[in-house]
Amino acid sequence: MNSQVLAELVLAVSEEGVVVFDRELVCTHWSPAMERMFRLDVASAVGQVMPAALALPFGAHGDEPLRRALAGEEVHLEDVPYASGADGLGAGTYEVRYVPWRSESGLIEAGVGVLRDTSLRRRAEQRAHETEARFRIMADVAPVLLWMAAPDALCTFFNQTWLDFTGRTLEDEWGVGWAEGVHFEDFQRCVDTYMAAFAERRVFEVEYRLRRADGQYRWVLDRGTPRWERDGRFAGYIGSCVDITDRKELEVDLRRAVSIRDEFLSIASHELRTPLTALRLRLDSVVRSLNRRAPGHVDGDRLVESTEDALSQVGRLTLLVERLLDISRLSEGRLALDPEELDLVSLVRGIVDALGETARLASCELRFTAPPTLRGCWDRGRIEQLVTNLVGNATKFGAKQPVDVILEARAGAARLTVADRGIGIDPQVQGRIFGRFERAVSARHFGGLGLGLWVAKQIVDAHEGTISVESAPGAGATFTVVLPVAAARLARRSA
């Protein structure tokens, strides 16, 4: 292959365009790559004066670089924009090197231009830049905290959401700076998880507390995923953090609710077993004495006594079961009342008299103070339940000291005070004693469902009244209930 053929072959396959022009700027060679770039065939180009005569906007430089090459200079231009073809579709940029071509005598006979189309590279760069910008915008508006780390595990990017959350700058967080915001109790676990995952290049999840700009530590769930270059090289990690504090708190509430329910079930079972125990013993003893003794020698009085006591245990069980059913009814929402016009004084006196017997057994005196009458519109059954619960508690926790039950007429309302001189209530638990299943004392010492005060509050609420407690440990407890004489809602219902 002679050099002429070789040169033409090289020019035919080359991506770089080659143009040769003589001292008058007349084009003498126009390579195939030039044809493609400028969409001008060789026949149209050769013989024309460059560049204007080619009808080409050959760049902003005009013929000046060509003349410099002809003057012996090597001219290098980058990013020369061009538009080609009648339709201007062949627009782009090129870089070019113009060199002088000398004859054997050393005289400059022509200029040679070697052009490379840089449009594609520039477009790729532009696209990469736009992709990057789009990523930044998306990252910054995303509601999650985003981070990126280089292959050396040092963080190189945090989105605006992250920076707003921590209230720190990118420079603060850069590298390992972000770890300063991790709660010290979670720090080691967080860093260990992170580094272990990094070493194995695997996806990881870790929960830790991260300091927010306001100084509060928030639980975040951090998920990290390894990134890979197109050629398979490890490129680091990208990760996102979500604030899961609210979810965590809900979980705690839920666990507490479940444990309260479990405790309640165990207490309810205990409460049911107590009357069952007495009932069982009574019935067993009846059967035993009937079996053991000849019919004529059965102690009739003892049998009656045992059976009556068994029946009273059945009553106790029935009451318990009704109370348990009441919980689900009350839990469903506002209590439905059946109000009627009644005298609160005679109602409360009836309860105090009925409970007096039990109170006397507990060596506790019940003292009742009230005006002659106090009329209003209330639900008789529910008010009975309310007063029974309060007075029952007072005798139960009253440490054998007198209990005062006081009724007073107030402007448009009735005020009931139940005051004992017993063990009192720890101030720390006073806030929650009206909650469901709450008890101020250990179930180990005092039985009961832990529902009395909760039920009392539901009843008072339904009557649009208020209930409050004043107490100190060892100094007794005073419960005060204020019931409107006729709550608007109730008056309408009873009308």
């Binding site: 205990h270 007495a278 003893s285």
Partner: protein, 131 residues
């Protein structure tokens, strides 16, 4: 833990420690019907007072509830074991607690019964100590 012959000779009946008045009354009556001498205490503290009363004869067995106000059964048992005069009196626990057996192991008692208890089971548990 079995009563020594000395104690067995000098002891008398059952001490029932139970805070629920209905159960206490029922227990006292059914045990009296069996011919035993029965004393009652409404909590651990009252039981200790009864046991330490001057001139009182010690019971042959104590039937002990666990969940009680003032002094619960666990505390009573600990106090009893600390008192050399009372420590050897056998105790049978009667509780509504679901883990009666596990509880009794901790308390080192002679037996544990779960409420509600059958009368015959109750009698079988205390009879060995009553001669």
């Amino acid at each position: 833990m079995i009563a020594t012959p000395d104690q067995a000779a000098s002891c008398e009946g059952v001490l029932v420690v139970e805070d629920d008045a209905d159960i206490l009354r029922a227990l006292v009556q059914v045990l009296e019907d069996e011919g035993y001498t029965v004393r009652a205490a409404e909590n651990g503290s009252a039981a200790l007072a009864a046991l330490r009363a001057p001139g009182a004869r010690l019971p042959c067995v104590i039937l002990l509830d666990l969940m009680m106000p003032v002094m619960d059964g666990w505390t009573f048992r600990a106090e009893q074991l600390r008192d050399p005069v009372l420590a050897e009196i056998p105790v049978v626990v009667l509780t509504a607690d679901g883990n009666a057996a596990a509880r009794s192991a901790v308390l080192e008692v002679a037996g544990a019964l779960r409420k509600p208890v059958e009368l015959l089971t109750l009698l079988a548990a205390i009879q060995p100590f009553l001669g």
